[in-house]
């Protein structure tokens, strides 16, 4: 690659370089800078006050709680799905495999709408649940359901990618050495897919932090109860509180960035430790 770019006309190379850098500034860096500008426009003290507002804190806490719960749920069912897709051969497996990615293709707001129709007060499921005093929509379980749906492919793909390249013979070795199936799972299989689990968790968590479309449909956007961070930003902006919106926005942006950094750091560290056979 380096050798080829040296062969390019210097003028072409220069203009390519500057346009890419320029696009990066305009598309990515500039919006973040302006976000920062708004957040601290009234001074850092106002920024803190905005953050410490009870509704803001509740929204942030709910965001983290939903993201953690989503990661936990997908950690289990996503991993299980990855196992089914990579370890078993059954009719319709390819179709099944393609279906896993559906949440990536459907607009999240449509997902939220569909869940609302199914579990909402007028939906077939919702009616039944209502009769038994179980509330899913406009509450934590509804948010969780939406987020699990939207982030499902991330965990499946991350774990499946590792599973596909992990040989199964160590599991058989463990069996011949006297391990029970439980011991095989916890001492051999799960440690061997640790990278996939961690990568999938980071992706799921950060995706859940920023989830908006499905959240706004299924949560009802109830302030202090079902309002997550992104919904809070939207609401505050709509009511003209730009500083309040910016304060939470910058926090979410920084958190997502840190997660990304952590994931990078983790993957680089992993590769550095791995020996070449």
């Amino acid at each position: 690659m380096a050798a080829r770019s040296r062969n390019l006309d210097p003028l072409v190379r220069w203009s390519l370089f500057t346009s890419v850098i320029g696009l990066f500034f305009v598309l990515i860096l500039l919006p973040l800078v302006s976000l920062n500008q708004y957040a601290v426009r009234e001074g850092i003290g106002v920024f803190w006050d905005r953050l410490k507002e009870p509704d803001a804190l509740k929204a942030l806490w709910l965001t983290v709680a939903v993201a953690l719960a989503t990661t936990a749920v997908n950690g289990v069912i996503g991993t299980a799905m990855a196992f089914i897709l990579t370890r078993y051969r059954f009719p319709g497996r390819r179709t099944f495999n393609a279906l896993v990615d559906i949440p990536l293709a459907i607009p999240t707001v449509v997902t939220g709408f569909a869940l609302l129709l199914l579990y909402g007060p007028f939906g077939p499921f919702g009616k039944y649940l209502d009769e038994h005093d179980i509330r899913i929509m406009f509450s934590f379980p509804g948010l969780l359901l939406g987020h699990v749906f939207v982030t499902f492919p991330f965990m499946v793909r991350a774990v499946a990618a590792v599973l596909e390249t992990t040989p199964r013979s160590p599991e058989d070795a463990a069996r011949t050495l006297g391990a029970t199936e439980r011991q095989v799972l916890f001492l051999v299989t799960l440690p061997s897919i640790r990278e996939g689990l961690i990568a999938g968790s980071f992706l799921t968590f950060s995706r859940s932090l920023g989830e908006f479309g499905a959240s706004i449909m299924v949560s009802g956007n109830l302030v202090g109860r079902t309002q997550t961070g992104p919904l809070y930003i939207f609401s505050r902006f709509n009511t003209g509180d730009v500083e309040g919106a910016s304060a939470i926005a910058i926090l979410l942006a920084v958190a997502s960035f840190l997660i990304l950094l952590l994931l990078q750091f983790f993957q680089v560290g992993r590769k550095g430790k791995e020996g070449t056979p």
């Binding site: 013979s169 070795a173 006297g178 029970t180 440690p191 020996g275």
Partner: protein, 362 residues
């Protein structure tokens, strides 16, 4: 501790493909049995069935006389060494070797002591605390061997353990495996597609083809008296010639072949003559007497220790012969030369499709 293994009429299919067809085998306590066959002949499947890693469709596996059909792999007490080492990554050599003791609830100090003992046995005491990812292929496979032996198994199963290694390491590890096996005295099944490996390691060799066992014998007998044409062709190079029996000799044209050991073929019986290239010798063409055939050299290639020759006898038989470099004619022979060809010894197989020689020949 070491036990007899017997498998009785094992059958296994994967879908429509029959992988094992009524395989029966008995391995004596302390014996080293090499299972030799081309890839896809079912030898690895047989090993996995013995270990309990795969259920058979029919048949019985007995270890020490006890039927173990319904025992899962973890309770069969069988040490298994895999082709790809199957070590637990990101663990040290010691942790790998101690794994079997750990899952059996042996305390940390005790399992460390026993695992170190096993690493000593395979000559890896220095590498005990190194992560296995940092070890060489040969070292990894020795860790795998120590790990399999650490649970004091009654049976050791090795599934092509050397085929992922390069030739030098392979040859050294062969000797080490044999030494360790003799020292521990454990009944061992060793699967390989490499005949050299099977010969060097096996007290006996079981040759498999297409899900069947073709022959179980000492290496010498497998080589010199193959039970089937497949065995003859798979183990070493061979000339297979149509012939007839006559007073204890097999005749291929005018070439007479003395039988290796007992032979119960009747006079005139059609046979396939199994003639090893190194059992053919040559002389000057004018010295051809009884039982000898004149031939023309088609090609002669110098291979270091010997000359590999292709000759065509006057009867039209094409023979491959190996002539030692020290043979008096080895220097001079070239394509086109006329020679006399003699067979030192050989063996025969019945040839049900062969022609009976007319009476006047007898």
């Amino acid at each position: 501790m070491t036990q007899r293994l017997s498998v009785d009429r094992i059958r296994k299919s994967f879908g429509a493909k029959e992988v094992l067809r009524d395989v029966s085998l008995s391995v004596n306590p302390g014996e080293f049995l090499a299972i030799l066959g081309p890839s896809g002949c079912g030898k690895s499947t047989l090993l996995r069935i013995v270990a309990g890693l795969l259920p058979q469709d029919a048949g019985v596996v007995r270890i020490g006389g006890r039927e173990v059909n319904s025992d899962p792999a973890r309770s069969r007490g069988v040490g298994f060494v895999f082709q790809d080492y199957a070590l637990f990554p990101r663990s040290t050599a010691l942790e790998n070797v101690a794994f079997g003791l750990r899952v059996r609830g042996v305390g940390q100090a005790e399992r460390g002591r026993q695992a170190r003992e096993m690493l000593d046995l395979v000559g890896l005491s220095e590498e005990a605390d190194r992560p296995v990812d940092h070890l060489s292929g040969g070292q990894r496979q020795r860790v795998a061997l120590a790990r399999a032996l650490a649970i004091r198994p009654s049976l050791l199963l090795l599934d092509e353990p050397l085929s992922a290694l390069d030739i030098k390491v392979r040859e050294r590890l062969r000797k080490e495996i044999l030494a360790v096996q003799k020292r521990v005295g454990i009944t061992t099944l060793f699967v390989t597609h490499d005949q050299q490996e099977a010969m060097e390691l096996g007290d006996r060799i079981a040759v498999m083809s297409e899900g069947r066992i073709e022959q179980v014998d000492r290496p010498r007998d497998v080589y010199q008296r193959p039970a089937t044409e497949f065995v003859a062709r798979f183990v070493g190079e061979v000339n297979v010639l149509p012939g007839q029996m006559y007073h204890g000799y097999a005749y291929a044209g005018s070439l007479a072949i003395r039988m290796e050991g007992e032979c119960e073929m009747k006079n005139g019986a059609p046979v396939k003559v199994i003639l090893r290239p190194e059992d053919i010798t040559m002389g000057p063409v004018d010295e051809c007497g009884e039982g000898c055939a004149t031939a023309r050299v088609r090609s002669a290639r110098f291979l270091g220790t010997h000359l590999r020759m292709e000759v065509e006898t006057e009867g039209g038989y094409l023979l491959v012969a190996l002539l030692l470099r020290s043979h008096s004619m080895a220097e001079a022979l070239a394509a086109g030369d006329a020679v006399s060809v003699r067979a030192i010894r050989g063996s025969v197989l019945p040839d049900p499709l062969g022609k009976r020689e007319p009476e006047y020949y007898l």
